[in-house]
């Protein structure tokens, strides 16, 4: 099948949950340096609730899958990351609607909708040292991979898994960009969230939300690679 299936999208979310659980202490350590030492616990609690919600019954369609994900996060996390990650997934679900398979282009558009949800909810700007500083460059890389002239057409008309291959290359590019963008938050002065209270003292530390967002894109690339 050429497009990304519901199972793969579900595997992304479960993979993200596993990555958050595995990196829980590291995320909290990052939040200890410039925040309040709860980001790992927050997101782990939330993604555990997502997995429980997804285990309850198979998703009917993308809207159902991501609405349950977003609501589980909104209802179980609290803090800044609950509404932000929650809104991100709720918007993705709304963008994908009743689809049960999605193309690289559709998934990219849905991710964009998710990012604008984060922008509207959090009112942060690029460079404020937040998860947005990973979301935006990751999406830019996705878009760029979509447009690669020599690979894209070839992929579009190629082998049976061609579209999935495009999604693969997009998600791999996004994951690479996200990892780089995560590290690039270190030199920034925080201007949103708790880290902003530290002013110049926030310099030199990676933003915890940037780190968890990088895990999100890594999990997507992994899910598509399988």
């Amino acid at each position: 099948m050429a497009d990304v299936s519901l199972e793969v999208l579900g595997a992304w979310l479960r993979g993200f949950a596993a990555a958050v659980a595995a990196n829980r202490d590291q995320l909290t350590a990052l939040d200890s340096a410039i925040g309040d030492a709860d980001h790992g616990a927050n997101l782990d609690r939330g993604m555990a609730a997502v997995v429980t919600a997804l285990d309850a019954r198979p998703a009917a369609d993308a809207a159902d899958l991501f609405a349950r994900t977003g609501m589980a996060l909104v209802s179980n996390v609290g803090g800044a990351s609950g509404p932000l990650f929650g809104t991100f997934f709720l918007r993705i679900g709304a963008a994908l609607g009743a689809a049960t398979t999605v193309s690289a282009m559709e998934l990219g558009a849905a991710l964009h909708a998710g990012v604008s949800g984060v922008e509207v909810r959090g009112k942060a700007e690029l460079g404020d040292k937040t998860m947005l500083d990973v979301l935006v460059p990751a999406l830019d890389a996705w878009d760029a991979a979509l447009d690669v002239p020599d690979s894209a057409p070839q992929l579009r008309n190629g082998a049976p898994s061609a579209a999935s291959a495009l999604s693969r290359s997009c998600s791999a590019a996004a994951a690479r960009a996200a990892a780089a963008a995560r590290d690039a938050t270190a030199p920034l002065v925080a201007r949103k969230g708790r880290a902003s209270y530290l002013g110049e003292r926030s310099v030199g530390h990676i933003d915890p939300g940037a780190a968890s967002t990088a895990l999100l894109f890594a999990a997507l690339a992994d899910a598509l690679a399988e």
Partner: protein
Amino acid sequence: MKKLINDPASVLADSLRGLAAAHPELRVDLEHRVVYRATPKAAGKVGIVSGGGSGHEPLHAGYVGPGMLDAAVAGEVFTSPTPDQVAAALAAVDTGAGVLQIVKNYTGDVMNFEMAAELATAGPGTAVETVIVADDVAVEDSTFTAGRRGVGTTVLLEKIVGAAAEEGQDLASVTALARRVAESGRSMGLALTSSTVPAAGKPTFELPEDEIEVGVGIHGEPGRKRQATAPASDLAKLLVEPVLADLDFTQAPVIALLNGLGATPLMELHLMYGEVAALLDAAGVRVERRIVGNYITALDMAGCSLTLLRADDELLRLWDAPVATPGLRWGA
């Protein structure tokens, strides 16, 4: 980390169960983690809801009771509650006159309470107003940050606004009063130690034996700057000066709160208040009411904060009105 807990994951649930056992005059909804008065106030009066991350006790649950809050919504330690929790509280305390929600200015709290208000207004059709407390002068460039944090003024505001609601003021005037109090309060804090979040298992930051953090908030987070320890008389200046520099407190009666952050002995808080009072006196500030103790804490952080509220006869009257909560009680 040594704490009187069973498991970091169950701290909030276990603590709320204990709160329920300790205070039969409160009703604890363990599912939504909301603390209500056991006897709701009379219908037709504005409901007052507050909440936020846990670890600041007695804030907020300790301020539920006649003359103050109707409900307190408890998030995980240092983590804002979720919209569902808050929405449950908003719906439960609305007796028809609407509800004011009191929110401390943290990104998470603002977003979650905002979503809760959207849910409550949409669903049960409750009229919800929001006041955001942002009184921490340690946050200097508020345009380049998430804005000032909400700290000590929250306690004073909950008391004063609670009294107004109790005497039957309507939602518009209770909200206007809340905004006025929020604009008239300023706070500044310092810490001798970090606190330890149970789920993190170790102190949020490490402070050498001879250094303090100046300008900390109430989440065990590092402050704006670190400096050598100093005598209490100098530390008092670190609190008083930025507060007085930010707002003129000499033209009206003042309500003062010298607050302990959790692990500081009352003996030291009294001592600090003595130093602060002398400085305020010298600066021409007329303190008409004052409270000294642990009112808004940061778990086991050692340190203190100062809050001044520029009051007037009306605010003093509402301050003096009877209140009967676990954390603040007089006249009843």
